[in-house]
Every structure is written in C-alpha cells, then in structure tokens.
Subunit: 416 residues, 2 copies
C-alpha cells in the first residue's frame, strides 16, 4: 500500500511551526508496511492544494491531509476535497450536536455560525471523533482510494491517527503490528548499526528502525502479524539476538526510559537517593523528578555551584579545593560522600566539571567532567572527556551519572 | 521570488528524523520576501527525485535541495541534478584537497575512494564551504533558475544556509534584512495577536511573525532594506508600538532570553542568588546555569523534595508543614527566607507545588504551585493554578519564578 502525506498550512510554509505531524505519521506507517514516497507541504491556497491532492491521488492509494479543518475562512481542506471528488458538503447532525455540547463547556468561547462549518463534511464521509478539539476528522473513499482528513494540532492529530487511522489502514492491509523498543546507552549509533548490520539488511518481518538522540540510541523492532501472540514470537528472538550482541549497553527492551528504570529499581530495593551537582546544575535532580512518584526515593538534591557552598553544605575539604581544584576526582568523591552523609540517603551521585564555553584551564579542558557515586562504604568515580556545547556536556554528564547508578544497582561492571 | 524546498532522504520518509531543516530555511526565507509555496520530501530514489526536481523547476525560481550529498551509494542528489540539467560531473581540485586535509585530521576515519565523490559537482557549480562536515554544498544556475544543494545534517545546513545561501538570495532580490525579536511572558499567543491584529493585518515592510512555545510568545519584526540603518529605522517604531500596547509582559526587544536577561541584571547589580526547589526539582537552578557565566552570581541551589530536607536544610517549621502542608504559601515563604539566610545570597527563589499526575488532595489540585522570592527583608509569594501535564506544570512554575525575579530587579509591579 502506498500513502502520501499532505500537510496544509501557511504557518508551515513560513516556518512558524515545526512539522511534527508528518514525522509522527511516517513513523507509524513505515513498520505497518505502508510505503510513503512523498510528503508535501502546501499553504491555505485552494488551487495549489487541489493540484497537490490530484497529483497525490494519481500515485498513492491513501492520501492523508492534516490541517485546515478549523472554523476560519483559511480552513479549506474539506471544501477542496469535496470539489475535486465532485461531492456536495453535507452537515452532520451528530457533529453539530457535538459542537454545541463542546461549546457549552467553554467559559470564554461563543459558538458562532462559522464554527458550524466544522460540522460539514464531503458527502459519504466516515467521521473521526476528536476528544481534544472541535475539529472532527474524516475518511472519504472513492474509486478504491482513501482520503483521510485530520486536524493540524499535534495533540489532536496524534491520538486521532493512532486510535482511528492506523487501525483502519491495518485492517485494510489485513494485519496488525507488534512493537518492542530496545534502549541503548554507551554505544554510538554507527557502532550499533555496525554490530547488527546483517540483521538490518535482511530485515523484512520484523523490521528494525534506529532513532538517535543525545547519548542514546533506540531500536524499534516491529512485526506485522495477525495476533499479538504471533507478533511477540516474531519479535522476541530478534530482540534477544540484538541484546546478546550489544551486551549491557542495552538498558531496556520494553521501552522503559533510564529514569523510569532507575525509579523502579530504587523503589523495589526500598533505597533512597540524594544528588550533589556542580556542572550539571540541577539537570540531574530534574531528570529523576521528571518521573512521577520520585518522592518515594528521592530525598534531596543540591546545586553546590560555588566553592563556598561545596565546603559549607558538603564538607568538601579546603585542601582538596586548593590542591586538586573543584573539577577533580577527589572533589567529586568528597561531594558524593558528603551528600550521602548529610542527607542520610543510601546512595548519592555527584557531578563536577567544565561545561564551557569559558572556564577551561591548562590541564582542564571544556568537557572534562567527574561523576561520583557513593553508596555503602564505597565511592566510585568516573572521568569523562565530553565534546560539544555547554548543553551537550551537561546532558551527557547527566546521562553518565544515571548509567553509573544503573550499573551499581544491577550489579553490572562500570563502563570504561 | 518563488523558492521551493526539497528534502531528500528515506530516513525522513520513514519518520526516523524530524525535518528541522525545512522549518529553519522557511523561517529565514519568509521575511526576505521569498515565497515558498511547496515543501516536498522524497527518498533516496533517483526517478522520484528527478520528477520532483522537474516539477519544482517548473514553478519556482530557486529550488533548494537538502540531503543526499554524502559518500555512500544512496547519496544521489548531485548526480540527479547533473542528469536533469544535462551537465557532466566534474571533480573540483579545491574540494579534493579540502577532503584530504579534513580526513588527515580524523583519528578513526580512513579516506576511501567513495569519499572522493564528495569532491565531484555538476559542471559550473559554485561551491559552498562546510566547516562542520565533509560534504560541501553548491549553487548551479541554468536558464535563470538557481538550484541550491545543501548537506542534510542541521548542524551543517543551518550555518551554510545562513552564511552563503541567504546573502546570495538577498543579493539577487536586491535587498538585505534587519530583524528584531520581541519576547513576551505572561500573555497568551491569541491575546498577543488580538492586541496587535491591525499591525499584523497591514504588515508589509516590516513583517511581524509570531512564534509560541510553553508560556512564551516571540514576535519577529523584520524589514527588507538597503542598509542596516534603514532597517533599524523601519523596525524601531513597530517594536515601540508593540511594546507600548503590550506593556511590561514584554521582557526583551533584542532577542535576549529571560535567563540571559536575569543573568545580565544580577551581574550588573553585583547581586547573588540561591534557589530552593520542591516541585520544579532542579529545573529552576538548571535554567540559570544554562547561561554561561552563571557562576558569577549563582551561589547554590537545593532540591528539598522531602519534608525532612525542608526542615533540616532550610529550617522550615514543623508546625507549618503539619498545619499548612508543604504545598502552601507559608511553606514557600519559609523556603525562600531559609535559603536566603543559610546561603548568604541577596535573593532566593523557592517553589513548592503539585506537579502531578498523583499527589492531589481535596483543596490542593494538580497544578497548584506557590513561588516565593526573598530579598532584603521582604518575601513575596505568588499562587499559580497551572494546567497541563507534569512537564508543563514544572516548566510554567519555573518561568513564573524567573518572571518574579525580573519584576523585582526591574522595579516592575508583580503580575497578578
């Protein structure tokens, strides 16, 4: 099956909005075996939209349009579709009732005649509910082609696409999908791809798709299947093979994020955590607290940015600050140990380093970071030489601290 | 002048990569008076790429292609352009030398014959240097049309587009650009647009473009001009008019971000800051420390997540925690005052609230946040009822805390 995505909106052509809709839909369609050969963005111009739609219908089985379903004069997508297919616009009583209901729940918005346009659809459309906005979507079928019309805002489009469009397309294609995500820290994207190149090259069902972000690689393994059980059986050996090749850089095979994993482990072990940060400056604490329920194990954090705060709050010794400096293995260890002691937590993480762009010294370049982990009566320390800008150095230092804790909690050897 | 953007890459069609290139270029082109009516994404397929390019050349003066300039067999963009224009591929000695030079600086990468393809260009091309990668870009001109070929990775494309493509297009268009950014906190996008609707509707030169992100609105005012001075004179009265209509929700008219502004003000006043966080959990400290040079004024931060940490570290009274609870105006005030006292800082910010999804109580819903600011002998406190998920509540609490500090430092009345 071939699909084409048409994003409608002058705000996209002007660069005022990033087109996350097209990526989201493409990412869902690919593993379903739906091929997308063209994505096109056009403005709120009926002639150009009509041309674009015509071209798409000439080369795709399914054309998905997003945007232009709103109540204003610029919102033309439904009219253009109806015009091209030679269908009259028909008001849906259900959609009209839904609109009145929705507007009655708004405090500050009046229902105007314009809004009623959102209840008009090309004749014969199948409507798609929108729990997150006033613009319902729809399917229109003609001559074996399917046209899908969706609202533009991502928080309306994503769930509508997931809940209604994908099931419809999968039904039409005669299969369903089963996906598992493998998450990796400590190995670059090209090394990961190199290690599993033969699996990627011979992939058919399941498919393997890599996604990279700062410091992390995710592999999405997706099978087309008739039953969930069948999908599980297709995906499991591939996940197992990848995990056995990559080793303990794989930290989850069920999509769990690193902070979620650590949160679960800490709660399972009934252990508590405290954090002392210099260069990461609150980012490490914030990463833990991002996960709901972190108050169960996270006692406290400190951003001991100045030398005086390091001394006063954590009893870092003056001698170490003078002789080794604040950016040193010794200081990181004292910070972690001091945090453990003063907070009463079972474990404490500490970071100190030079995030840049300023602050470098002769033997201490930008990107030099020490991460320490105290627990029981031991203090581990890791030296990092990070590249990139201030933001990346702080993010990578944070991720390395998380991975140190994971390795300790799971009895894995610490990474080099 | 009409331009068309063609993004080349199967990874875009599969949704593995978000197309930030197209947005970046569109955003630069719009205020320059270059109209973009179509953006198209195609894969690494020579036939489809050729068709797409042909269509684009039929309707645009300038066609900008990004991606597909690499050394592998998939990288076909230059070959397809040469084929369509009937031009031979010619090796550039300068580009070849540049490649050898660059590869000699890599530790782990060998120069292979494949890499030399990156020195081949359609005959008559003007080369565009790439300080951030091995793939140089180029212009090709034919029959009054300009084709621009750029590498796909954003960190290579953005500077190449800014430094070489825009100046070329502006020269061709016979003008230059002058831009100022107005930054707004505390007024929603639709209210901002409502307040300046007449200015937006009659805009021509300068143009006014709004961009919204969590809690903030940016207005970009851009004039087409011959000289910078002329641009300044065109833009200044519009910026002044907007500022006078919106009032003190405008926090900068020169693109300075809120943390940059606060950093500058703190350093100018030779004042120091400390931060005590509960629900924001390190995000507020991290926002200050994101700005280089923050060590000048930022003494320390604390994430006092547990009640015991609030008592032990900041002397929050047991009675207040028992009677009013940790999420209360009284607790926020004690946190800020305690942080000021124990750190010796001139100012201290504190946050406490319910970020959700759990933790709500009868009279304390998710989104209830108190922000306090201590300084001199006063402690201000602000109550917020925030909507959205955990991430948004924490971000909005952080932004409100920053704005409280701005208003105090600038002698502005606190927002309601």
């Amino acid at each position: 099956m071939i699909a084409e995505i048409i994003s409608v909106g002058t705000e996209l052509l002007m660069g005022q909005v990033l087109n996350t809709d097209a990526q989201y839909m493409a990412r869902e369609l690919a593993p379903a075996g739906v091929n997308v050969y063209h994505q096109v963005t056009v403005g709120d111009n009926p002639e150009r939209l009509k041309d674009t739609l015509k071209t798409a219908l000439g080369r795709a089985d399914v054309v998905i349009l997003s945007g232009g379903l709103g109540p204003t004069g610029d919102d033309l997508t439904k009219l253009v579709v109806a015009d091209l297919l030679g269908l009259p616009m028909v008001r849906s009583p259900e959609a009209e009732q839904e609109l009145y209901l929705r507007f009655s729940s708004f405090r500050n918005r009046e229902m105007t005649p314009n809004n009623l346009r959102q209840a008009d659809f090309p004749q014969g459309s199948t409507l798609l509910p929108n729990p997150n906005g006033t613009a319902q979507g729809c399917f229109v079928e003609q001559n074996g082609k399917t046209i899908v019309l969706l609202p533009g805002p991502p928080r309306e489009l994503f769930p509508m696409f997931h809940d209604y469009v994908m099931p419809h397309l999968l039904k039409r294609a005669g299969h369903r999908l089963y996906t598992r995500e493998i998450r990796i820290f400590g190995m670059g994207e090209s090394s990961v791809e190199h290690a599993i190149r033969d699996l990627i090259e011979k992939q058919d069902n399941p498919t393997i798709a890599p996604y990279a972000k700062t410091g992390e690689v995710t592999l999405r393994v997706t099978a087309r299947c008739q039953e969930e059980k069948e999908g599980e059986l297709l995906v499991a050996p591939v996940v197992e093979e990848i995990e056995s090749r990559l080793g303990d850089v794989v930290y989850s095979t069920n999509g769990e994020s690193m902070p979620e994993l650590l949160s679960r482990l800490m709660i399972e072990k009934n252990a508590t955590l405290a954090v002392a940060e210099s260069c990461t400056g609150g980012l490490l604490s914030s990463t833990f607290i991002d996960v709901p329920g972190s108050s169960t194990y996270f006692l406290e954090g400190m951003v001991v940015y100045s030398d005086s705060a390091k001394i006063r709050r954590l009893n870092v010794s003056n001698t170490i600050l003078r002789q080794n400096g604040a950016v040193s293995a010794e200081c990181a260890k004292e910070m972690a140990a001091g945090m453990c002691r003063t907070s009463g937590a079972d474990y404490a993480l500490a970071t100190t380093g030079i995030a840049g762009p300023g602050g470098a010294k002769a033997n201490k370049p930008v990107g030099l970071v020490y991460v320490a982990l105290a627990g029981g009566d031991k203090v581990l320390v890791k030296k990092l030489n990070l590249t990139g800008d201030r933001k990346r150095v702080r993010e990578m230092a944070t991720l390395n601290a998380l991975d140190m804790l994971r390795r300790l909690l799971m009895d894995l050897p610490q990474a080099e």
